[in-house]
Amino acid sequence: MNARSLWSRLALGTLPFLLTLATSTLIIVLMGADPFEAFGNLIGGAYESWSKVADIGMAMVPLMLAAAGMLITFAAGLWNIGVEGQMLAGALMTTWVVQSVDAPAPIMLPLTILAGMAGGALWGVLIGALRTYGHVNEIFAGLGLNFVGSALTNYLIFGPWKPPGGATMSGTEPFARAAWMPTIGNTRASWLALLLAGFAILVVYVILRNTRWGLMLKAIGLNATAAHRLGIDTNRHLILAIMACGALAGLGGSMQTTAIYHRLIPQITGGNGYLAQLVVLLSGLRAQWVPLVVLFFASMQVGSPRLELRMQLDSSLGGVVQGTVVLFFLLVSGIRQRLDARSR
């Protein structure tokens, strides 16, 4: 790697962040607040205590799982916006199992994990079927089902699954203790959840790099017609890919109930499905970058509420920063590609 390309790689890495810093500062100033204070609260709110660090760890779990799943569908050339619905399905399936089954933890926990994966995978089959046999673009199928899933969740929370005291915004009754993911000491962080999330991203990395199935998905994503001619059953593998993503995303949704909130609440996914998209794009579709990006995003998630508390700024500033970084990343990549092509 010569000096010139080293510089350009550095630029590509840091320029988006610098631009984001600039534009975010501008927006904050426009809102009449002090940018230093805002960023201070954002970062401070995230890292002020070990408890908060544990929260970041937990916030990483569903995001990592969803992002790992999306890497598979991205490889196959799919825009799986329906990830959000898949996470919901996992959460719903898990809640149903927890409410229906009474068993000790060693049985309960694996059951919830399976339920989450099954729920997400089944939701994925639905999206896949709509795409393959109904010829409905997966973006619209996924999106429409996201809204349907959200409505379904609300119905369940305020209807059949409402706690005995009456329906509230706090969601269902807390889960039985047996269905709580084991934690590290006194913190809120669950070692099992973190382990599963880390394992998931590792597995996806290996699948995409070193397995025949991963290569087949890549071929389908690049040129589905040619892949079919070469003997790959494209329909089957696309549905399998969405199911695999669903299983991981569903597990993520499930963890939100068993490891974070310990119940089903409205907005259980916290927008992680949509956020996972941004994560994957910012990681350049590479599994090895995902953990770092997820850490960055999760820090934003945990730090944002402080903005509302202390500064009367909406917590969506975190989302603004996340979205802006990805946007500038894509734009800067484009500029770099242009410059590369021109110099050749």
Binding site: L30, M31, W79, I81, F147, Y155, Q277, G323, L327, I335
Partner: protein
């Protein structure tokens, strides 16, 4: 039901469909020239907020609309230019912008949440609104609705009866051929993206200043996606876009109408209904219908195909490199 209630219901359907008409026609123009602007949901949110904010601050609804249209145009231009000049995938940029603009609208819109503000005044057309039945429904509305009619007919005339419209269709279908015939492909794509984006911006303002007054967190969520689906469902034809807009607006009205009649049905069913309908509508237009095309005379076959498959402009979403 009494006729008065029926007329009133249809009237409100026409009124509430206006934003979808604007957004649908706007996106139709953008897509007909070959660019997919998937940022619609975020665009409508942020332009609804911006339009309301400025209208509230200045007291002028007109200024609100102008800002909304400007913002909408800029976002669309961003999508178009990143594809044309930076080789980025239109879908990727569109999706990122959707998420980003949603967050921006929440962040910047915070001070305006649930604040009462100005709205578009109603304007009953003389003479025309006196016509029985049709009059009150179509001509006892406000200027936005009337502009919607003008827009629809204008788009239809433009596309199918003018030379510039023909050029635009060629650009969307086969840019190389258009280029060979002297049409400035990328320049037109930018132009129509900006125009379409401005109309999307107007749709946003039409929500916050007319159909769903005011601003709140995620005020119009989902409407952008419905507009995109309407364009597909309508087969990229202006008159059918309006039909689609009426259909979805009718569904919403049906919801508020039927809820008191059937109180046991959970409200979430009505919330989810538009999106379920969206999927069903897309399912319907994507079917093959048993080789219907082969059985009609050859002259009609492409028309039939257009109705069934909703022929997307063949060059939609693809880049064009000049020279």
């Amino acid at each position: 039901m009494q006729s008065g209630v029926v007329i009133e219901t249809i009237r409100s359907v026409v009124a509430s469909s206006t934003p979808l008409v604007f957004a649908g026609i706007g996106e139709l123009l953008t897509e007909r020239s070959g660019i997919t602007n998937l940022s619609l949901d975020g665009s409508i949110l942020v332009t609804a907020m911006a339009g309301f904010a400025l209208a509230y601050a200045t007291g002028s609804v007109l200024l609100g609309f102008m800002l909304a249209m400007l913002v909408g145009a800029l976002i669309a231009l961003l999508v178009a230019s990143s594809s044309i000049y930076l080789n980025q995938d239109q879908v990727a940029i569109g999706l990122v912008l959707t998420l980003l603009m949603t967050e921006v609208s929440s962040f910047v819109g915070r001070p305006f949440v649930r604040v009462p503000g100005p709205s578009v005044p109603s304007w009953s057309l003389p003479v025309l609104s006196e016509i029985p039945v049709v009059g009150p429904i179509f001509f006892d509305q406000n200027i936005l609705v009337y502009l919607g009619y003008v827009l629809t007919i204008g788009a239809w005339v433009w596309l199918y009866h003018t030379l510039p419209g023909l050029k635009m269709r060629a650009v969307g279908e086969r840019p190389e051929a258009a280029f060979a015939r002297g049409v400035p492909v990328n320049r037109l794509r930018l132009l129509y993206s900006a125009l379409g984006g401005a109309l999307v911006g107007a749709a946003g303002a039409a929500y916050s200043l007319n159909v769903k007054l005011g601003w709140s967190h995620k005020h119009t969520a989902g409407m952008g996606w419905i507009a995109l689906a309407i364009v597909i469902f309508a087969g990229w034809h202006p008159l059918r876009v309006v039909l689609g807009a009426y259909l979805f607006a009718a569904l919403k009205s049906l919801g508020s109408l039927l809820q008191p009649v059937y109180p046991n049905v959970p409200t979430q069913v009505f919330q989810a209904a538009p999106f379920a309908l969206m999927i069903i509508a897309l399912l319907l237009v994507s079917r093959d219908l048993g080789g219907l095309e082969r059985r009609v005379p050859a002259r009609l076959a492409p028309m039939v195909r257009a109705v069934i498959h909703g022929s997307a402009p063949a060059g939609l979403g693809k880049r064009f490199e000049q020279g």
